[in-house]
């Protein structure tokens, strides 16, 4: 009986010690994992921005867009930092909202915490503050009602709706068909968010605060 007890204790002791060591190492690895996740996100964004830049030359856009629901970029986008003050007020931990000079939301990215959003802003800053990027082919007529002066939509990805509209011609086509903003507006999440954010976006634009344009 005592012999059996000894064996059980030896097995349980080995198991407990193993578990203890594993938990210790887990704690050690957690910081590195968080840093890896941030790095992966930055790389995704960098690839996406690189894709957008390539599109200027190739007239086609091919970025992953997996976590970007709506993305717009142009020289008039002034307010990505706006998300840092507006989204937390709405109870969202973080995200990025691009606002153009007319106060229209032209891009929304919600899947970040506030810390992650802050970590991503250097890339956004570099991208937005870069040289003007004429994305749509010259001569493209854009009759979309929600398109504010200077705003050029380069890609759209909506949850379960439009996977992505890749390429300037595709974006132009979608804009001409008045499709992108309509779809975006019909998605409940975006409609609510849009409406909640719009006044703040306009106020933000009128203050001309946070402009990153040269």
């Amino acid at each position: 009986m005592i012999d059996l007890l000894k064996k059980i204790v030896a097995l349980a002791g080995t198991g407990a010690l193993s578990a203890l060591i594993i938990f210790g190492v887990y704690g050690l690895c957690e910081k590195a994992n968080a840093a890896n996740a941030r790095l992966a996100q930055r790389q995704t964004l960098s690839r996406m921005f690189a894709g957008a830049r390539i599109s200027e030359q190739n007239d086609s856009l091919n970025y992953p867009g997996a976590s970007w629901k709506i993305f717009a970029a142009n020289k008039a986008v002034i307010g990505y930092a706006f998300a840092l003050e507006a989204l937390p007020a709405l109870g969202r931990p973080g995200g990025i909202v691009a606002v153009n000079t007319a106060g229209t939301i032209v891009g929304v990215h919600l899947e970040n915490t506030l810390d992650e959003t802050l970590a991503l802003t250097p890339e956004l800053h570099d991208f937005v503050a870069g040289p003007p990027r004429p994305i749509l082919p010259q001569g493209t007529q854009n009759t979309n009602r929600t398109r504010a002066p200077g705003a050029l939509l380069v890609g759209v990805s909506l949850v379960n709706r439009l996977e992505i509209v890749a390429g300037a011609p595709a974006a132009a086509q979608a804009l001409q068909e008045n499709k992108i903003y309509a779809d975006a507006y019909e998605a409940p999440l975006y409609r609510d968010l849009w409406e909640a954010l719009q006044p703040a976006a306009q106020a933000f634009a009128s203050r001309n605060y946070g402009s990153v344009l040269p």
Partner: protein, 197 residues
């Protein structure tokens, strides 16, 4: 004492080329030298730690629960190694995939624990872990280096010759088996201890 031991682990009792242990992960990950070195180093680390820990514990462990304790120690060590690789070398972890956790069921580890860690003093068990690990690492380096050069015309990711691959099939599973067979044949031809002439 160390040189003959190294010779034993690397040549005479090489886990992969002489004993035929750890063949499955070796064939699966030996498509590039980087992956081969990664798996070889991970296996060596597990071997050394498990041999050391079990050699220390052997006097306190009843023979009847020897195997369960060994399995627990191996599993815990592999888990720790896997977590460390995932956190600090994520790209290597991605490329090795399931084959790092599978070190836990690698016959080399259990075989060395059974035959050496439970029978030899701590120093000898540690040395055995190192030389066997070196043997496995060396065999993986030869196999994966040859496959990468022939199948992908690169070595450690760097292009070694221009043009198309010499033997594209070397990068396929069939190529792995053929490369291993050729290396085994050469070993036997050159080394009488492996049945050569």
């Amino acid at each position: 004492m160390i040189i003959p031991e190294i010779k034993r682990g690397v040549v005479r009792e090489n886990p992969l080329l002489a004993l035929g242990l750890g063949l499955c992960p070796a064939l699966a990950v030996s498509t590039s030298l980087q992956k081969g070195v990664g798996l070889g180093c991970a296996t060596m680390l597990v071997l050394v730690v498990c041999n050391g820990v079990l050699a220390v514990l052997k006097k306190t462990i009843s023979p009847q629960i020897r195997i369960p304790v060994a399995v627990m120690v191996i599993a815990a060590t592999v888990t720790v190694v896997d977590m460390l690789i995932k956190s600090f070398m994520p790209s290597l972890s991605d490329s090795l995939g399931i084959y790092v956790p599978l070190i836990a069921v690698n016959c080399i580890v259990l075989a060395r624990c059974e035959s050496v860690a439970f029978a030899q003093p701590v120093r000898k068990a540690l040395l055995d872990g190192i030389v066997c690990g070196l043997g496995y690492l060396g065999a993986l380096m030869v196999l994966s280096g040859a496959r990468e050069i022939l199948g992908s015309h690169t070595l450690w990711g760097l292009r070694v010759y221009p043009g198309a691959s010499l033997v594209p099939a070397a990068a396929l599973p069939f190529g792995g088996l053929m490369a291993l067979a050729i290396i085994l044949g050469l070993m036997r031809r050159l080394n009488p201890a492996h049945g050569g002439k």
